[in-house]
Structures are given as C-alpha cells and as structure tokens.
Symmetry: C2
Subunit: 495 residues, 2 copies
C-alpha cells in the first residue's frame, strides 16, 4: 500500500509561498463556516516517527484561528487515565461543536504499536479496528467531521532521520511497557497497513501523505483538509436523509404485551423480614464496598423506572452504610452547554469512576431511548442508533473491569397513582411531584413499549437488566441490595 | 474551646421524628430559594474520627434534593492532583451557582493533621490559616455561602469508638505518608483549636457540634444549616454595598504618565541578527523544554498586550521547535456556562498544567483588570479585589514549583494603526481585525491606566512583569525567547 506514495514528490519554496498566499485565506474562511454551522472537526495525525507530525500540527495552528483548536497527545498516561476504560481519554478529547481537535495517534497508535511488537495478535488488531469503526461511525452520525492523516517515509529516509536522533527519543523512556521504544520499520508498517485497510470507510477515510519533502507534505495536508471541509460544508445533511442503523423493530413492538407484564407484581415482604434482611445485606455491602476498593474494582449501578417507583429510596438503602468516601450518587439533571456541545454519551464518559469506587445513577444514558424517544426530544435515527452506542459503551466499561448493574423498578399504574396522591399529602415530598409526572402518566403505554424495546436491545449477556417488581417497596429494596451483593461477591471471588 | 460543648446533650427518637416532619419541608424550600437566586453553597464537614461525619453527609443527601448536591473527599490523591498546586483539587470541587458542595475536611484536614503529627510548625499552620482565610474571603465576595461544621467527641467516647474499629480504618493504609494513620486525640485537638480560632471569621464562621448523641448531632446540623441559609437569603447583597478590599489607588492613577512611557521604544534588531538569534534560542528552548519535563517543572507563560502587539507571533516563535507533546497554547475565549457559574479564576485553575508541561496563554486572567475593568464588564469592587486574588493564585502556582512568566508586549498607538491598516490588506489577517479593535483603540488612555495599575499591583518579587517594547517585532520575539530561556536555565540549574 505505502509504496504507492514513495514517489519522491517535492515542492519548491517559491511554489509553496505562492500557494500559501491563497490557501491561508481559504482555510480561515472555511473554519469560520464550520464554526457558524456548529460542526465539530477531528483531525487524527498518525504515521511513522520522523515524518514531521509535530511540524504539521504547528503549521495547522498557524494557519487556522487557534482559538478554535485543541491538540491532544496520549503518550504520558496519568493514573486518572489508567484507572478508567481505555477510551475514556479519547472521549474526553473529542471536539465540541464548532471546534477542531487534533489528536496525535488517537485510538490508532496503541493497537498498531502493540501488534507490531507482537503483543497483540491479528484477531486482537481486527477487534480493535472494529471498535474504532463503531466509534467513528457514531461520531460521524453525531455530526463530527473526521479527517485521518497518515504520514509516510520510505525506509531509507526513516533510517536516516532516526539516526540523527530526535530530542524526544533521548528523553522518552524505552522500557518494555513504553509506547515508543524499539519500533521496527517493517513490522510497524505491516500492522499499520492492516489497521488502515480495516478502518478506511466511506464516513472516515484515510489520507496517506508522502513526507520526504516538508513543503510537499504540508501542501498535501492543506489539500486533504480543504477538500474535507468543503465537502462537508457542501453536504445537505438533513435528519430524514440519514439511515437508521439498527435492525427493524421486532414484532412485539406493536403488541400491547411487554416484558413488564411478565413480572409477578404480587411479591411482598413483611416489615420484620425487611428489617432483618436490610441489616444483613447492608452490613455485607459495606464490607464488600471496601473489598472492591482494595481490589480496584469500580462499580456502576443504573436505576431506571417509572416516576415514584422508588429509585431514590433504593439508592439510599444501598449507600446508607457504605463509607461516603467510596461512592458517588448522580441524579441525572439537565446537561450543561459544554455537555450539549458533545455527543450525548460524553457527559456519562466524563463521570466514569476511578478504580475502586462506586457510582450510582438515578436515571442514566437510557434517557435517550426512554424519555427522549417518547417525548420526541431525539429523532428516530438518533434513538435508534443509541441502542448500539449504549451497548458499545457498556461493553467498554465491563471490559475495563467495571462491575455494571442495571435496574428497572416496575410499579403498576394503580400503585403509581396511589403514590402520587400520597406525595401530595407529605409536605417534603410535594417537590417531587410535578405536572410533568402527571403528563408522563398519560403516556404509560408508549413508555412501556420503549422499556420493552430497551430491554430487548440492551439486556446483553455481559450486562443484563434486572427487572424488579416494586409495588412493594420492602421487596424491591431487598432485591436490589441482594443483587448488588451477590454480584460483587461473585466478582471478588473470581479475583 | 471544645470542653464548652462536652455537655452530654441528646434528643429522644420521638422529639427528633417530630422535628424532622417540620425541617425537611423547610430545608427543601430553602434549597429551592437558593437555586432560584443562584447562590452556591459550600459545606465543610470536619472533626474527630468516629464522630459520624459520613452519617451526616448521608442525612444531608436524604433531606435535600440530591440533584443539586455533590460530595467531595480528598483522601485518595491521584497523580493528576499531586502534579498540581495543593489547592487545585479544592478549586475543582467548588460549587457552581445554585449548587451545594460538601467537602470532607476540605482545605482544613491537611494542615491540622500535619501540625498534630509534628510535621508542620506553628508558623506553617498559621500560614495555612492565612491562605484559607484569603480563599474563603474571595469565595464569600464571589457570593459563596460557606458553612463550616466541626464534629466533636469527648476523649472517652472517641477512644471507645476507635476501639470498636471502623471498617475504613482496616482498609486505609497507615504508613507515614498517609493522612489517616497514628492520630492522637490531644495533639490533634490542639492543632484543630488553633486552626479554628484563626479561621473563624465574620464571613465564614465555624459551628462546633457535640456528637455524642446521633440525633442531637443531626438536629444541630439542621439548625446551623437552616440559619445559614435563612440569613443569607435575608441579606440584601447589592453590589454597591460591598466594600472595596484593596488599598486606595496610588497617585499615578490620575497622572497621564504610565510605566509604559518609560520603555525605550526605539530598540530594534536587524533581520540577519534576528535570524541568527532566533535559531540560537529556539534550539536552546527545545532542549530546555525536555529538561523541564524530566525535572517535572511546569511552565506557565502569560501574554498580554495591545491588539496587534504580536502576542500570537511571539508565542509561535516559542513553540516552533518545541515538541508538540510538551506544550499547550490557550487563546482565552468566551467562558462556557460551567465556567460562568464559578469564580472567574476557576477556569484558569482548570487549565493548570501537569508536572513537566508548558502552557502558553494568549490573554489570561488579567482580563479581569484590563478589558473587564475598562469596558465596565466587572464592577469596581470586583476588579479591585482581583489584584489580590491574582497574586494569591500566582503565588500558589509558584509555590508548587511552576515557573511563571508574564509578558506585556507594548507598541505605540502609531505602530498599532500601521499594523491595523496592514491587516486590512492581507486577506488571511483580515479576520483578526474587528470593529472592537477600533473601539478599543479609542480607549487607549483608559487601557494605559489599567495596565499601569496592573503592573503596580501584580508585579511581585516572585512573579515580575516583563514589559517588552514591541514596535520592532524582531526585537520583541528575541526578548521573549531570551527571557524564557534564561529563566528556565536558572530554575533548572537550581534543581
């Protein structure tokens, strides 16, 4: 693949200067239009050592209005990063709408490097490529313009540049775990070629750039970026032209029976049994939380359910005896403007806990396929692809060692009405009951369908939904506690 | 001091239940009003081990609408935190407007603990107290309601609770560097008493709470918080009633001669000298940047100056040969809503670099006393106290080992006009020239006064301003490069 661009192309100083007069103005104007249209741009700068990636980034910062740009490198990992899923650092570096993010290597560097060093097999490389394709597809669907640049040097040039030695090479440690030591030209290019072939898609193409000559290289970058910007600005991306990416809805969708109807709503627990079991499980959980901390296992627990189903109460029974240093409970509120300027999952990535800690969500990323779907706050093409995005997200959490549990607390419409009326009576509960709650009640069937489909599409082998009958609060709380304890015990035993 | 609250006070279950009926509603209503009025609340929960601080936090989460609350503990430091100034973690945990932040120990725990262990002398403790007072004063001025709770146990109770042993104690390491090991009752209380006495101010009072009895303790907390909220909501805080906190302006303020007039604007450099020195210093800087990285010294460089004074060009000459992984250049743009919801310095704290990295600011926190002052975007009482706040902020940066440099690039009004007109001619520079630039030009004298006062009040021994005559770009760029190189060399030699 790469030999096709080993052509020895170059550009004279005069030619370049002349071109620069033109393209600088043009690039700035294009950037202005991207800002105006709120388009986020991601530029990935990758390639062989010595090809001048750093110089290119400097030039980009000169040509564009740098107020709208941010550069990210991922070479000097912090423990904040190490204690979170691999992609956390990338999500945190994604561009907000109207901004340009430049990533050195991005999500490509690590799998290519590991494979070329023989630490990742071919299946592992291909799996990484698939994950990357899924993410880039998600970003594209969300409106991100992705430009991927690979800077190439012929073997001879590569060798001579390395021999001269970069200042960086002297200072970067080259032990076995380091990302930069011991690179061999041929295996590295073989790994890169395989990765590039697998991730060169219609929504996110690679541009290979011959980098023997500095000016030719820079001019090539300008052309790729200019074309990418222009093409994107010329597109008429309208919502209804986008294609839904998930399979057609299953038949149950139009049925009035949902998975929720299969729950035995008569289960109950006496107060004395409740008190006894509560103490038992709470004591156990407070110990398990410390053991999980020692074992560096994070836990994420999601609570969804009807209004007044008892989510807050169940969360409080979990945290009651846990050390307050070990958990964080998050009630999902309106997103901030920084959050709105990113993919809807960004704000949840942001909150992923460090190793050993627990995060409890009172409502979660499932809002996308529940309230946003039913209330029309997300377009069908948006919530339809959310199932896949959520599964990917959760898989990454689990793969990084996070224990993830999801609870749907289910009550009957009659029980909800009873609780609403009760809330009206108790002064400190009145604030919990809003007009919106009454409006949501009228849409019970639409929500039930949404829940049914959510369970169908996101209850996976790795992360199943726990559907909890919650007409009886005692029963529901103990069920939740028991489930969490059992899960933690299993995980910690396997440790 | 503490013996005054060793009274053995308690509350019956019945009394507490009855009170709870009342205060829960009241607390919720008060929280609603605080949200409505956009008041940020900081609650610091401190005291002896075993007094039930965690339980109190759980109760607060139950009583209040937890969507508006966030709890922060500072016991399990990450290297992201260790590599930044001590207060970075606290700034990152401050409440946004309308929200409640609860801090375990907050900025109090560390100095009290270190002093009680004999690792910090009395002068050190008092210095810490002074820093805390300055910060709390700043927060108060910015509208934060600060509530500080100290939970006390008599020696006998303390001993018996420790003997039973907390789950936490078993899991937290107790090596010499750990924050939780080896605490002795008497020395700890002696240190605490001194700290409390020094930081019990009119804007941020301490409440000592007897914690022998769980219900009495919780009821005391409720009363303190309720009173604090009520008092704050009853205050008519209007801008013009606040008192300026800095000294009256010096006489030069009304003079038309400023410090800028003392600069020799005739200095210049020939193109050939420029090229030679540029190469010399850039080569040197690219090496120094790696040495600073190895030595874990961060560098922060601030650029202020007239429009078209050449800030961007000077920054580019610094970064040209530096490895792009080692620096980040930040052009100060409009704050996001998350940033607006905090103290104006919060967003700069946010950007403080990790150890070993360089951050370059094209405009900075000095906007508060320059553009915001001149354009009336900040009230006089706000920009007047900003000098002190900025000095405190910069002192903390320097104390944590960060190398901080500040440049004012100075050009004459005539030279500015010439550059404006030139910008109109060059297509890719036109975007840099806005109507605002022309308007700012009309306020030259007001800006000159503001600069003069800025230099007067913030050019400190530790962090002096470098005023650079910049009518000649070659000269200015070399001056900046030379200053940065010399400073880094000195710092690295002292290492």
């Amino acid at each position: 693949m790469f030999e096709a661009i080993e052509l020895g192309q170059s550009l004279s100083k005069k030619e370049f200067k002349l071109a620069e007069q033109q393209f600088r103005t043009e690039l700035l104007q294009l950037q202005q239009q991207l800002i105006k249209q709120n388009i986020p741009v991601l530029i990935i700068v990758a390639g062989v050592e010595g090809a001048g990636k750093g110089d290119v980034v400097d030039s980009l910062n000169k040509w564009f209005d740098s107020r709208g740009m941010m550069t990210h490198a991922f070479w000097d990992e912090t423990d904040e990063q190490k204690e979170r899923p691999e992609y956390w650092r990338y999500w945190m570096s994604l561009p907000a709408r109207g901004l340009i993010s430049i990533m050195f290597g991005g999500w490509y560097w690590d799998p290519i490097y590991q494979h070329s060093m023989g630490r990742l097999d071919e299946a592992g490389l291909d799996e990484a490529a698939q994950r990357i394709k899924d993410l880039e597809d998600t970003l594209h669907q969300d409106g991100v313009l992705i430009i991927k640049l690979w800077f190439h040097l012929a073997k001879k040039t590569f060798r001579s540049r390395l021999k001269n030695g970069s200042e960086a090479a002297k200072h970067i440690k080259t032990d076995a775990d380091d990302h930069h030591g011991g690179l061999e030209y041929a295996p590295f290019l073989a790994s890169a070629e395989r990765m590039i072939r697998h991730t060169d898609t219609s929504v996110s193409t690679w541009s290979l750039i011959e980098s023997e000559d500095r000016r030719f290289r820079d001019m090539s970058v300008v052309e790729v970026i200019r074309n990418g910007f222009k093409q994107r600005l010329g597109e008429h991306r309208v919502a209804d032209r986008r294609v839904a990416v998930t399979a057609p809805l299953p038949e149950t969708e139009n049925s009035s029976v949902t998975v929720l109807d299969t729950l035995d709503m008569s289960v109950a627990l006496s107060k004395s049994d409740y008190k006894e079991q509560l103490q038992h499980y709470q004591t156990k959980l407070s110990q398990l939380a410390w053991q999980a901390y020692d074992a560096k296992h994070s836990t994420v627990i999601v609570f969804e359910g009807w209004d007044a189903a008892g989510k807050g109460g169940a969360i409080r029974r979990l945290t009651d005896t846990m050390d307050a240093r070990l958990y964080r409970s998050i009630s999902v509120a309106a997103p901030t403007d920084e959050e709105l300027a990113h993919h809807y999952l960004w704000r949840f990535w942001r909150q992923v806990p460090r190793a050993g800690y627990m995060t409890l969500y009172d409502r979660s990323w499932y809002g996308r396929v529940l309230v946003e779907r039913v209330e029309g706050l997300a377009q069908p093409h948006e919530w339809l692809r959310a199932y896949q995005e959520i599964n990917d997200f959760e898989e990454q959490l689990v793969d990084s060692g996070i224990v993830l549990l999801k609870f749907w607390l289910h009550i009957s419409p009659e029980e909800q009405l009873r609780r609403f009326e009760e809330r009206q009576q108790i002064p400190w509960k009145q604030h919990k009951l809003t007009d919106e709650d009454w409006r949501n009640r009228d849409k019970w069937d639409a929500y039930a369908q949404a829940v049914n489909e959510m369970v169908l599409r996101t209850s996976t082998g790795k992360v199943p939904w726990s559907l909890i009958p919650a007409n009886n609060k005692f029963h529901a709380r103990i069920e939740v506690l028991k489930t969490v304890c059992q899960r933690l015990e299993t995980v910690l035993k396997d440790n």
